[in-house]
């Protein structure tokens, strides 16, 4: 029997430990993806027989103007949303480690949006941004003499995507604050003390010492935030339903409508497979980019 040279255990022992997780992962991830791929190769309304159509659904995606717009919106949502979540999350974390008093109170206040449900946050912002009846933001703009900026924000096709992106970022940036904060406070204080003795000011300590030391955490956060925003659904769906028109439609909201409103399980599944491949590709690209940075750095 072959044995692990270091541990002296049989070679199948490792597989024994991995198997339960592997079975579970296969059942809840691999099988549904495989099933979706199968459905995407045909036409099916959920009733009756599935009819094989080959790659017709994927070809339809190329000519689908709603899908194209949703994809562009998704790229904007992901890029801007990720940047805001990471930058604001980092700023919040850095501000927390820079203060000594009331740190816990402020940390709880920062984290509050992350624990409120997406539907509640969406409804709060819908009310705040309302034009008729007048919401708080339009009322405030008028009361400070900026009435010319008052408008029905969620009916402005030029603003809705930006608004849902920022509200989504507002909810989730506290998650990245928590990740960055825990990484920053766990840094070796001796290293920071040495930098201070060497004459590094606060900014130099931040950019040249602290951030490089938590680079792995930042890399993992980028993967998390980008894959999260690519799958963004709840806040855009509740706030605008993807509208007006297709102005805030994302691939995920379009997929939902195709599957459950139109009962077009074939085309909806092809959109789902697209999302999976898109997420995987981008995660691979990000990981490659970070590993290249680590090597050159």
């Amino acid at each position: 029997m072959r044995k692990n040279k270091l541990l002296g255990t049989p070679s199948w022992a490792g597989w024994l430990f991995v198997t339960p997780a592997l079975v579970l992962f296969t059942a809840v991830v691999i099988v549904p993806i495989g099933w979706s791929f199968y459905l995407s190769l045909g036409a099916w309304n959920g009733l009756g027989k599935w009819r094989f159509t080959g790659i017709a659904n994927y070809l339809n995606m190329l000519g689908d103007t709603v899908f194209r717009q949703a994809l562009l919106n998704n790229i904007f949502f992901s890029l801007v949303g990720s940047a805001v979540q990471l930058v604001v999350g980092m700023a919040m974390a850095v501000s927390l480690i820079s203060i000594a008093r009331f740190r816990n109170v402020i940390r709880v206040a920062y984290f509050l949006p992350a624990v409120i449900s997406s539907v509640a946050i969406s409804q709060i912002f819908v009310q705040l941004l309302s034009a008729d009846p007048e919401g708080f933001i339009n009322g405030a703009l008028k009361s400070v003499g900026l009435g010319s900026f008052a408008q029905p924000f969620l009916s402005n096709t030029g603003l809705t995507l930006l608004i849902v992106t920022l509200v989504d970022a507002y909810k989730f940036c506290a998650i990245y604050m928590a990740i960055f904060y825990s990484a920053l406070v766990s840094l070796d204080q001796d290293v920071l003390a040495a930098a201070e003795i060497d004459g590094a000011n606060w900014l130099q300590q931040l950019f040249l010492v602290r951030l490089p030391l938590i680079w792995a955490t930042i890399a993992a956060s980028v993967v998390l935030v980008v894959s999260g925003t690519l799958r963004g659904f709840d806040i855009p769906f509740v706030m605008t339903g993807g509208g007006p028109g297709t102005s805030s439609e994302l691939v995920s909201t379009y997929m939902y409508k195709t599957l459950f409103r139109q009962s077009n399980f074939g085309y909806g599944s092809s959109l789902a497979i697209f999302l999976v491949i898109e997420c995987l590709l981008i995660v691979v690209i990000i990981r490659k980019a970070f590993s290249a940075t680590e090597k050159t750095g």
Partner: protein, 427 residues
């Protein structure tokens, strides 16, 4: 030995217990029907239904209906579609006579309500348009209607008086009223542009006046274009409404927001069906002093439909799963036809799909509504029920853009035609 005997007794006891539990459960479930519904739990339909069930149980103690409410319509439809896909539809569930439900019927999953009603002799007890609304184009009936709704434009009398306008008789007058109300600083109309259906009602009015249901019947099969004269008239009308009548930001307003705007006096006009009547009544079950209503305006004397023809329907109906149409269920439906109308109206103030007697004690508003229902010649069919789901999605997106002035009526028509052609060619 003793130990073995005790173990044997325990095992036998457990087996007998399990068997009796299983038999008991089977017995209890044999006449218990699970009903997944999108109706409001406190609305007249479900309250009256459960009262009828309670009465029926006095003579049929094993019969029962258990309710599962999912008032959020999209969530409800999602659940029903998933259950249909996995072959686990409940015994009773709500549906419209739309293309997807037609697929469910074709798959043989539900009972033919029309045949059952004829078999037990209750068809004549229903208001004809309430039954007709639930029928497919071939005349077959696969859904139980519960309500009889007519849709009106409700308005605040004092706002109209202050602006010096009268209820409009024609669509042209309607636009003038909007303009005058707007100039007097009042939001003319509140509409729930996030919901879809309120937009489609407005959108469809000109073509329905010009051609009756013929326009929709031909549009959905691609025989007439949205870019035709009638179709473009619809689109132009809707765009004008968006510019002159609807509240700012109508595209993001939901049902409750738009209704509350009207109820709180922040808009002058609100279009809704009689299912919302309870919100508009005072403690004597009459319309509130400040509120009155008018019917869908006409265009002119060349209209295909008259002033008494407008939107009248029975709302979302209820299907019975094919294997749940038992003799017991048929007995219940016969009992329901005798009792539901009276309980729904007299106890809960509803307007049932079953014929009810007009009495002197009845509040005037109900007498007027029942008279209007009686006078309806042709009732307008509903776009979001008759068109295919993909076209309804397109209609939703494009209607918002049209109302906001982001696209032209011609662009709107082009998108709707394209979607209908895709559906027709895929059939």
């Amino acid at each position: 030995m003793v130990r073995s005997s005790i173990t044997g007794k325990v095992l036998r006891g457990v087996a007998v217990g399990a068997l009796s539990l299983a038999i008991g459960a089977t017995g209890a479930n044999a006449e218990t029907y699970h009903y997944i519904t999108a109706k409001q739990p406190n609305g007249p339909v479900l309250q009256a239904l459960m009262d009828v069930v309670a009465e029926f149980k006095k003579t049929h103690p094993d019969f029962d209906i258990t309710l599962e409410h999912i008032p959020d319509r999209p969530a409800y439809l999602q659940k029903i579609k998933i259950l249909a896909t996995s072959g686990e539809l409940p015994e009773l569930f709500d549906a419209d006579a739309e293309p997807y439900y037609e697929d469910i019927v074709e798959a043989g999953l539900v009972a033919n309500i029309g045949e059952i009603f004829d078999e037990i002799g209750i068809t004549d007890k229903y208001i004809p348009f309430a039954l007709d609304y639930e029928r497919f184009d071939d005349g077959s009936l696969w859904l139980i209607p519960w309500e009889a709704n007519v849709e009106y434009f409700y308005y605040h009398k004092d706002m109209f008086e202050a602006a010096g306008v009268d209820p409009p008789a024609t669509i042209g007058d309607f636009m003038d009223v909007c303009t005058t109300l707007g100039e007097s600083g009042v939001t003319p109309v509140s509409v729930a542009g996030k919901e879809g259906w309120p937009m489609y009602r407005y959108l469809s009015m000109p073509s329905w006046r010009r051609m009756g249901n013929e326009f929709l019947d031909r549009l959905k099969v691609g025989e007439i274009s949205m870019g035709s004269e009638a179709g473009l008239e619809d689109a132009q009308f809707f765009q004008e409404l968006g510019a002159n009548c609807f509240q700012q930001g109508f595209a993001s307003a939901d049902y409750t927001t738009a209704l509350n705007m009207f109820l709180s006096g922040q808009s002058a006009i609100y279009y809704v069906g009689t299912w919302e009547l309870h919100s508009l009544l005072d403690e004597n079950s009459e319309l509130k002093d400040d509120i009155a209503y008018f019917k869908m305006p006409i265009i002119d004397e060349n209209d295909a439909t008259g002033p008494d023809d407008f939107y009248a329907h029975s709302g979302i109906g209820t299907a019975i799963r094919a294997d749940a149409a038992t003799d017991e269920m048929k007995d219940f439906l016969a009992f329901l036809a005798d009792r539901f109308g009276d309980i729904s109206h007299h106890t809960y103030g509803g307007l049932p799909s079953l014929k009810i007697e007009v009495t002197d004690e009845m509040p005037q508003i109900y007498k007027d509504i029942l008279a209007d229902m009686e006078a309806v010649g042709e009732y307008a069919r509903v776009w979001d029920v008759k068109l295919d789901a993909a076209t309804v999605d397109t209609l939703f997106r494009q209607s918002q853009l049209l109302g906001l002035g982001e696209i032209t009526p011609e662009q709107f028509a082009e998108e709707i035609d394209r979607s209908i052609q895709q559906y027709v060619s895929g059939q």
